[in-house]
Symmetry: C2
Subunit: 186 residues, 2 copies
DNA sequence: CCTCCAAAAGCAACTTCTTCGCGTTAAGGT
DNA sequence: ACCTTAACGCGAAGAAGTTGCTTTTGGAGG
């Protein structure tokens, strides 16, 4: 017996979880944030509200799970041929996506409804795996410290997105990357 | 006529706001997080629930305001006689307070219930004013860039507190301060 | 292949929270 | 002292959240 997450992927649990997640995403695409309620989601997913309450506890926890799923599939950062280019492109895209209104909303969903730390952890690992892949392409790969890069690149971006998203200067990601590279020359 | 925030400080609005805020703080001190409801707060504050709903909209917004208030009174950072000492002491205390279970909870309250950005903004200014005061004591005060210090000190601490609070290494604040000072020698 | 078991979903009644219209109160201006 | 307006109290109606019990379902063992 292998350590599959919960039940077989085709089991009833999995089907319902997917139906509910789909319902949330679908509502998020077409409704304003505070118009989304558990009974609404349940209706669209074809389940009863009590199912959702029993499995997730409350709306915040469900939204956190759904949002975290968006960060659970690590996408490969664009490959430009140089470390600087890869970092610049990745950081710019990070600010672009995460700093957008929906992006910021998903981040807040993850944080606000996460009781175990699993979802916030997934966010950090999402960033870690992207940086790891970029560093893996560079010749001095082994020398670069992921946590240091998180501190210098991801943390400032996240901080500004969460606390001051309206005043992020254009070129902010570039500033951070250049600052990082200056501290860790190739 | 002066531009007082809303009504006179002694007015009814102000009295009720304070009663409600006090009720929230009092409940937070004695109840678990998810046991706090609007009707409960209303009862303790001696107002009707509809007053709270009309003024704040929902529980999240109220909690955000209450939590932001904790960051609205800038406290003077300890004075140690040196820039390094001041920064080390301040950063250590920051991690200590904000990284604690209640501290993290207040941060998340601020973020989760803030629709206008006023409360997250207050958080950033809280950090800014502390750093500003510390820098103001140093001889090269004018040379130091507050935003740069936010990026290098506050952002990493906040990022770790929010996303990975269980795994913040001891001495993390020291690492960040030393790294900052190395980049900006006196 | 059939039967049994446990976990999870459905159902329905109940409680609690949230919204809203309307009358009342209180603060500030004339 | 009176008037205006913004905010609160009250109560009813509606929506959301909770819970015990029954039913379904997927997997395990015979």
């Amino acid at each position: 017996m292998s350590t599959v997450s919960k039940a077989r992927p085709g089991g009833r649990s999995a089907r319902i979880q997917e139906a509910v997640h789909d319902a949330v995403r679908s509502l998020q695409a077409s409704s304003s944030r505070d118009a989304i309620t558990v009974p609404l989601i349940a209706a669209r997913a074809g389940v009863t509200p009590s199912t959702i309450y029993r499995r997730w506890g409350d709306l915040a926890a469900l939204l956190s799970d759904v949002a975290a799923d968006r960060f659970r599939t690590p996408e490969s950062p664009a490959e430009t041929g140089s470390l600087r280019g890869d970092l610049l492109a990745w950081a710019a895209q990070f600010i672009e996506e995460m700093g957008s209104t929906p992006g910021r909303g998903y981040i807040i969903d993850v944080v606000a409804g996460d009781s175990t730390g699993a979802n916030t952890g997934a966010c950090v690992n999402y960033a870690r795996s992207a940086l790891k892949e970029i560093f893996g392409r560079a010749p001095d790969a082994g020398l670069r410290d992921l946590e240091d890069a998180l501190d210098r690149l991801v943390a400032p971006m996240m901080y500004r997105i969460i606390f001051d998203s309206d005043r992020i200067p254009s070129g902010y990601s570039t500033t951070l990357v250049e600052r990082y590279l200056a501290a860790h020359p190739t």
